[in-house]
Amino acid sequence: MIRTSAITKIVNTTEGELQILQPISFDVNSGESVAIVGASGSGKSTLLGLLAGLDQVTEGEIYLDEEPLHQMDEEARARMRGEKVGFIFQSFMLVQSLTALENVMLPAEISGHPKPRQAALEALQQVGLEHRAHHYPNQLSGGEQQRVAIARAFITRPKILFADEPTGNLDAANGDKIEKLLFELNHQSGTTLVLVTHDTELASRCDRQLHMYAGTLTEDDSVQLNAEQRHVS
């Protein structure tokens, strides 16, 4: 689903060029769930931005569902995101002036879905928030806002879902609920999941963990093994 080859990211700062990502290569298979873990500032969010086509690599190649992201301009990447990618963010990123329902409808409308309202109502139902459809984000709790964001992420049935610290702004109880919901929906729809987190508990639920450290990536096989064992059991 995702193929990367020697991708790097260099940014210009007032103190000269800064290499945030060292050359990184890895693949993510279709239907797989991958956690990118690492300390703050290790470059995991930057990597997520590149994989999701929100940002452009300095060097290297990224193929998303066989399409060469690294060769696309912003317009092409936007189209690609609309068609194949879903997002969940730490700060929920709901449009404050739209209701829960309208927030969920947003990607469907942008991509020209024939029945965005109906699809959005169904998606809200799936996350158990149909009764809050007409509330604005600031009338919802953090957990509820993230459930709206999840509904929004799944409405277009994306092939791949990117989640950036999805439970980072939530308390333990709400975090657990969200985690559960995320993985449930992911399994149901067979979506590929790439998530960035500090949370080892959350990371451990993924098929595979990639560790970021100072812009470099290492793969933790033991975690992968644990996951496989859990699947077996």
């Binding site: 997520l48 936007a78 020209g112 965005p116 604005y136």
Partner: protein
């Protein structure tokens, strides 16, 4: 629901617009557009109506909209053309001639008019000489004349008597109290005679050798009048013809109206600038608040085109709504105002045009588009990556470009609207100077803030620290505050200066009656007679009638009726009133030479002071020796000084003022003036009855006319001032609200960190107070510059420094901005911390 992305953009745009409007997020920007449109519409609608009312009113003084004067009758073709163009036409033939009755004679200003006269204004007749005038329709019938009160007095006649003019006898059928085109000249004018044009030929007075003016008066639509003049102009001979409109009128009235018109224009221009500033502020806020939604939409796959469409459509929605509400509001406001003042200024409410609507809508559209363009461009450039990195903002050009774009947009708007490059440039230049000065001040504040912001964190330190940190970022805000205050000051001070100068022209108690021919013996009797009745007399000016006959031994022409003959040097054309005085009269200013005073040395010739315009016309220079024939005596005097005389004052003024010693041998008559309230006019007959030989000039009606117009214009200016002040105050509110928004996040953090509400409040108030003081102070300085340029270059007024505003502006700025800041702050702090934090997201 929609399937195509095009429809999606519409749907999304409309949805965002609806929600934002419902949540009150659009209030500020909508209010800004509503205000701008309402202000521009009401101002231009109102001033257009007012102008046409005032122009109509002043046209009455010309008795027409335009006048073509000629020394000879003009070709019929010219008049036919005017009729063809749909213009109304009246003819007046004017000459000076003697009027005889009872063996008495008097030189009069004879006006023969056709049936269409007057095209504007009304004739007023009195029942008896010097009686109260009543408006009438109609003109003297064939064989009849209407005469000025003075003729009745001098010729000793009554209504129904006969007078001779030239070779024809006329029946005197009415007393003229006022002709619309009677003119303001109190002393130069001869008494008026009005007669039918058809009877003129029979008198023989307009024959060859007489000096006759042929005046053709026109009225009609401005466009038709202009078109006619365009056709006529190439045919005119400047030596023979002249074209006049009310606007060429250099009377105090003409000038008042011109100034008022310029003031309306200025006020409307300022309203446009205010509107633009508020829209720029509001648009910036709007754009900033939508960085996240744009990043989210882009992340979710919206193309650049779709985002642009969504937001441009929103601007169109907002602009449309703003324009509609603003138009309704503006129209109602000016309607109400016009209704309220209808009694004092007859503004015709049914007489309105589409032009102000077009201007208002054009202004709304241009302002909404041009001033939201840059913030929108910033908004469009927000990268989708902002969803992950919140610090990423817009990335478009520098603020300098924004300033240049906004400045030129304002300038183009002003220029296009006013068509007056000078006013537009003056406002632009002072605006620029102000902006640059403010930039320098903000730099200074950064430095000062660094010094003062050190030490323990109290409210003041917090305020200074915030100003320092925001100084560069929010210099726009400071500049917009200062510009708003400056524009309000300009409108206010301009109005004060203008109204004051108008009122000074005609102070209360201005003499409205003049008496001449008071003999030496009569003088004390007159004085005691008047003082017994509680009436104060003005100074008595001695007058001797003399004929000005030679300059430096060179004889000049003295013939009354043939002064345009080519032979000989030009003379006055009539007898002059000679007076003498050792003190210079009020409102007289020596422009060359020295005032003769009362020091007389025997070896020097007598001195005379000559009015500078007459000196110029008759080519009299300092040191010339002038000869006057007074009866059988001859007086020679050397020109010792030239005087500039303010003819607008209602006091006797003289071309020639001699030193007293030169005139000792002559027994003079006196001129004096007094003020009699209009309502006491009935007393006039009784007052004057003991002095049948004294001639009375009644200028009461003229003064009242002038005063009523000046007060109407002042009133109109007052209303426009209030309108602009309201617009400006609301713009200030919008600015404070929008800048409060930016403080929200910081307040939330401070609150969360446990800062006391009082301290936060005090710091916010202190911040606004400091901004208000700085903005007010800078505004006062810029105001001075703008006023100096406007008054000297555009309004032709005396310029003064307005020190009081240097103190008043910072204090008012601090008060107004501080109070507005406090109100918005209170609103914000009434929310609890978690609400505040949530609003930050």
């Amino acid at each position: 629901m929609s399937a195509s992305p095009n429809n999606a953009a519409w749907t999304l745009s409309w949805r965002l617009f609806r929600h934002e409007a419902r949540r009150g997020e659009l209030t500020v920007i909508l209010l800004a557009i509503v205000l701008s449109v309402a202000a521009v519409l009401s101002l231009s609608l109102f001033s257009e109506r007012l102008q046409s009312a005032l122009t109509d009113r002043t046209a009455e003084f010309l008795a027409a909209d335009r006048l073509l004067g000629s020394d000879k009758p003009v070709p019929d073709e010219w008049l036919d053309k005017a009729r063809e163009q749909g213009l109304n036409l009246a003819q007046r033939v004017q000459m000076r001639s003697m009027v005889f009755a009872n063996d008495e004679l008097m030189l009069a200003d004879v006006r023969a008019v056709d049936n269409a006269y007057p095209l504007k204004g009304t004739i007023k007749l009195a029942d008896e000489p010097f009686g109260l005038g009543k408006p009438v329709n109609g003109l003297p019938g064939a064989g009849e004349v209407w005469l000025d009160s003075r003729l009745f007095q001098v010729l000793g006649i009554e209504k129904g008597d006969k007078v001779e003019i030239g070779e024809r006898e006329f029946l005197v059928s009415a007393v003229i109290s006022e002709l619309p085109d009677g003119g303001f000249n109190v002393f130069g004018g001869d008494p008026l005679v009005l007669m039918p044009l058809k009877d003129l030929a029979a008198t023989g007075i307009s024959g060859p050798g007489s000096r006759t003016d042929y005046d053709y008066m026109f009225s009609g639509e401005d466009a038709a009048l202009d078109a006619y003049y365009e056709w006529l102009e190439p045919k005119l001979d400047r030596e023979l013809h002249y074209w006049r409109s009310v606007k060429d009128d250099d009377s105090p009235l003409g000038r008042s109206v011109r100034r008022a018109e310029q003031y309306f224009l200025l006020a409307s221009l300022l309203a446009i600038v205010l509107a633009s500033v508020s829209i720029a502020v509001a648009a910036q806020r709007y754009s900033h608040r939508h960085y996240d939604p744009v990043a989210i939409m882009k992340t979710l796959g919206a193309s650049g085109a779709m985002v642009r469409k969504i937001y441009l459509l929103q601007v169109i929605f907002i602009a449309t709504l703003g324009i509609v509400i603003g138009s309704l509001l503006g129209f109602s406001a000016q309607y109400v105002v016009a209704e309220l003042i209808a009694e004092k200024v007859p503004v015709a409410l049914d007489n309105w045009h589409w032009r102000p609507f077009f201007i208002a809508i054009f202004t709304g559209v241009v302002c909404a588009m041009l001033f939201s363009l840059y913030p929108l461009m910033k908004l469009f450039s927000v990268p989708p990556l902002r969803v992950l990195r919140r610090d990423l903002g817009a990335n478009v050009g520098s603020r300098i470009i924004q300033f240049i774009a906004a400045g030129s947009a304002i300038f183009v708007l002003m220029w296009a609207y006013s068509g007056d490059l000078k006013i537009s440039l003056i406002l632009l230049v002072t605006g620029l100077v102000l902006a640059m000065a403010l930039m320098a001040v903000t730099m200074g504040l950064i430095w000062l803030g660094r010094k003062l912001g050190q030490g323990r964190m109290g409210a003041w330190q917090l305020a200074w620290a915030r100003i320092q940190r925001r100084a560069m970022d929010n210099s726009v805000q400071l500049i917009s505050f200062a510009i708003t205050i400056m524009l309000l000051l300009v409108v206010l001070v301009m109005r004060n200066d203008m109204v004051r100068q108008w009122q000074e022209q005609l102070p209360k108690g201005t003499p409205n009656y003049f008496m001449i021919n008071i003999t030496d013996q009569q003088r004390p009797v007159v004085e005691s007679h008047f003082s017994e009745r509680g009436l104060e007399m003005d100074k008595f000016y001695p007058v001797v009638r003399g004929r000005f006959v030679a300059i430096n031994e060179e004889t000049i022409r003295t013939d009354v009726t043939k002064e345009d003959d080519d032979s000989g040097r030009r003379g006055l054309g009539r007898e002059a009133n000679l007076t003498w005085s050792s003190t210079l009269q009020q409102e007289n200013r020596v422009v060359a030479g020295n005032w003769h005073g009362d020091t007389q040395s025997s070896d020097k010739p007598y001195q005379v002071s000559v009015e500078s315009k007459v000196a110029e016309r008759l080519e009299i220079k300092l040191g010339d020796v002038l000869r006057f024939n007074i009866g059988s005596e001859v007086v020679e005097a050397e020109v010792g000084s030239l005087r500039e005389v303010n003819w607008q004052t209602m006091q006797p003024n003289f071309f020639f003022v001699l030193e007293p010693a030169a005139m000792q041998a002559f027994s003079p008559t006196y001129i004096t003036s007094f003020h009699l309230p209009t309502e006491q006019k009935a007393q006039l007959g009784e007052l004057m009855s003991p002095f049948s030989t004294v001639t009375l000039f009644d200028v009461d009606a003229r003064i009242n006319q002038l005063r009523s117009i000046v007060s109407q214009v002042s009133l109109a200016v007052e209303f426009i001032l209030v309108l602009v002040l309201c617009a400006g105050a609301l713009v200030l509110v919008a600015q404070v609200q929008s800048s409060m928004d930016e403080r929200q996040q910081e307040l939330a953090i401070l609150r969360t960190l446990g800062a006391k509400g009082m301290m936060i409040r005090m710091s916010v108030i202190a911040e606004f107070v400091i901004i208000g003081i700085v903005a007010g102070g800078m505004a006062a300085m810029a105001n001075e510059l703008a006023l100096y340029l406007l008054q000297s270059q555009v309004f032709n007024m005396q310029t003064t420094v307005h020190w009081q505003y240097w103190l008043l502006a910072p204090i008012t700025g601090a008060l107004v901005v501080g109070v507005l800041g406090a109100i918005s702050c209170w609103r914000l702090l009434s929310l609890n911390t978690s609400q505040l934090l949530r609003r930050m997201v």
